[in-house]
């Protein structure tokens, strides 16, 4: 530890100043827009106007709902997958874990594009449906909430699995067999043993997936289009289609508040549940 503080500050300053000037200040100004009227007075009118429109309400609740659904589903699949991964022999564990991480390196555009091939009018699913005679014409699968849900789940599931695997690796090997020998059902093993020991990983993974799903742009843009708007795509429309910067500022604030409160709530849950 060096004691020359001004030297240390001089080293850290460029990065801090840069982030502050080109990042925090512009974002701060953007967030303040919705709190001011045209005359410059402070008011909440921008928020009242925003939430009085049914479309905006629908989009807000849809975003929240999809965020929760994606986080919840990825927790269920994540626990199953992570439990299997930590019970593998060491060599295959590394390989499987690598395959789980692999999608994170691939561009989200490419990963989301795959679902067009699968769910599109001439996609695989529709080929099967029409081929089996379940429907005469292709069904609309793209531009539905389900499509956005599937796309988001595939995008963020690896983050949940990674967090859960790293916290499960810290559980001593014989804890689960011990609980089973002593007569606990799998249900009890999960809620009384595994869950309490991995709640930190669940909270980290849950926060990453939930905030990721809320703030994803590409997936709702490609798979939802203007039929299934989420807050991010709505923001883009407000700016590029209707030039409505007050609404854009409101949405920006909502997204930031949702992300931060998700962090806080999940942290609280983790420290209360024993």
């Amino acid at each position: 530890m060096f004691l020359n503080r001004s030297e240390g500050l001089a080293l850290a300053l460029p990065a801090a100043l840069f982030t502050f000037l080109v990042f925090l200040m512009p974002v701060g100004i953007l967030l303040s827009v919705a709190f001011q009227t045209d005359t410059g007075a402070w008011s909440l009118q921008g928020y009242i106007d925003f939430f009085s429109q049914p479309l905006n309400q629908t989009v807000f609740f849809r975003t929240l709902k999809l965020g929760i659904l994606v986080a919840g589903t990825s927790a269920v699949i994540g626990y199953l997958a992570a439990f299997c991964i930590v019970n593998l022999p060491t060599t295959s564990r590394g390989r499987i874990f690598g395959l789980v991480v692999l999608p994170l390196m691939i561009s989200p555009v490419a990963r989301t594009y795959a679902w067009i091939v699968i769910l599109g009018r001439t996609g695989i699913v529709n080929d099967v449906i029409v081929g089996l005679g379940l429907s005469d014409t292709p069904i609309r699968l793209l531009f539905t909430e389900t499509a956005v849900f599937i796309g988001l789940l595939q995008l963020f599931l690896p983050l949940m699995i990674i967090s859960l695997v790293s916290s499960m690796e810290n559980i001593p090997k014989d804890v689960v067999p011990a609980a089973r020998v002593l007569g606990a059902s799998w249900f009890q093993v999960f809620f009384r043993v595994i869950l309490p020991l991995t709640k930190e990983g669940l909270v980290i993974g849950g926060t990453l997936v939930f905030t990721g799903a809320l703030t994803a742009y590409i997936t709702p843009a490609i798979l939802g289009g203007s039929k299934v708007l989420m807050l991010e795509t709505l923001l883009y429309q407000k700016v590029n289609v209707s030039n409505d910067f007050v609404s854009a500022s409101v949405i920006a604030m909502i997204l930031i508040v949702m992300c931060f409160s998700a962090n806080l709530v999940l942290k609280r849950i983790a420290s209360v549940k024993r």
Binding site: M1, L3, N4, R5, G8, L11, A12, P14, A15, A16, F18, T19, V22, F23, L24, M25, P26, V27, I29, L30, L80, C84, I85, N87, L88, I96, L99, V100, L102, P103, M105, I106, S107, P108, V109, A110, R111, Y113, A114, I116, V117, I118, G120, T122, G123, I124, Q154, L157, I161, T215, Y217, I218, A221, E232, Y236, V239, F245, A252, I256, C259
Partner: protein, 258 residues
């Protein structure tokens, strides 16, 4: 759980995560004109066509430029910051950490809009410059975090020893610290490169006519055209990212740093 159950669960999960991507690779190999799976006959013509599309060439060059130089710029200001946060007892070090980490927390689309309205337009910054600044800011948190963790593993008394033995502080940094955190810096570079190259939301508002990053160019291309070239390009880009990370893992155990 039996071995069979384990492999069924893992097989299903991996099929969901990676399967769609294999489909994209094959859809790009189609000999037909429209996107379909299974492809109508096999050919590599779409993979070849990707290289001849002019807008892809331009946006690929821009994305490469941003990923390489944006990350280098982030490292140039990020390494000193990481060093200062690790080795000095700074007043307000928590504040500095929070400020520098902020670009990860705030959703990209908000960053793009804020920069466009309150940085690019008032200061009359060019699109390329605006994208460069944005990508630097977005990569900076990763640079600071990865370099920090590799500085953490390097004992500070080694530098002190170097200074006692007659090095200046700068020499102690270049001769003792830098060679020891080389792996961490390279890992930060790769992580920054991949992050910047795949970035969309923040660049969305900043991209103008003719000046687009590659992922955004792909997005607008697939709105107009429904041929397999985006599938082919997606597959090529994925191979590039995976190859970079794979080589990095082999050479320096990349995952230790991330």
């Amino acid at each position: 759980m039996s071995r069979l159950t384990i492999w069924i669960i893992l097989g299903a999960t991996l099929t969901f995560l990676i399967g769609p991507f294999l489909i994209v690779i094959f859809a790009g190999m189609s000999a037909g004109e429209a996107l379909a799976f299974p492809p109508q006959g096999l050919s590599l013509k779409w993979y070849a066509k990707v290289f001849t599309v002019e807008s892809f060439q331009a946006s690929f060059a821009l994305s490469m430029f941003l990923a390489v130089f944006g990350t280098i710029a982030a490292l140039l200001i990020g390494i000193p910051a990481a060093y200062a946060l690790n080795r000095y007892d700074l007043p307000g070090s928590e504040t500095i950490r929070t400020i520098v980490a902020a670009p990860i927390i705030v959703p990209g689309i908000i960053v793009g809009l804020a920069l466009l309205r309150y940085f690019v337009v008032p200061l009359n910054v060019t699109i390329t410059m605006a994208l460069f600044v944005t990508h630097t800011a977005l990569v900076l948190p990763y640079a600071v975090r990865v370099v920090s963790s590799s500085l953490n593993n390097l004992r500070a008394d080694m530098e002190e020893a170097a200074v006692i033995l007659g090095c200046t502080r700068l020499q102690a940094f270049t001769k003792v610290v830098l060679p020891n955190i080389r792996g961490g810096i390279l890992a930060a570079f790769i992580l920054g490169f991949v992050t910047s190259f795949n970035e969309v939301p923040a660049s969305l508002f900043l991209s103008g006519p003719g000046v687009r990053t590659l992922p955004i160019d792909m997005l607008s291309y697939m709105e107009i055209t429904f041929d397999p070239s985006v599938a082919a390009l997606s597959a090529l880009l994925a191979f590039m990212s995976v190859a970079i990370v794979f080589i990095a893992e082999r050479l320096l155990g990349f995952s230790r740093y991330v």
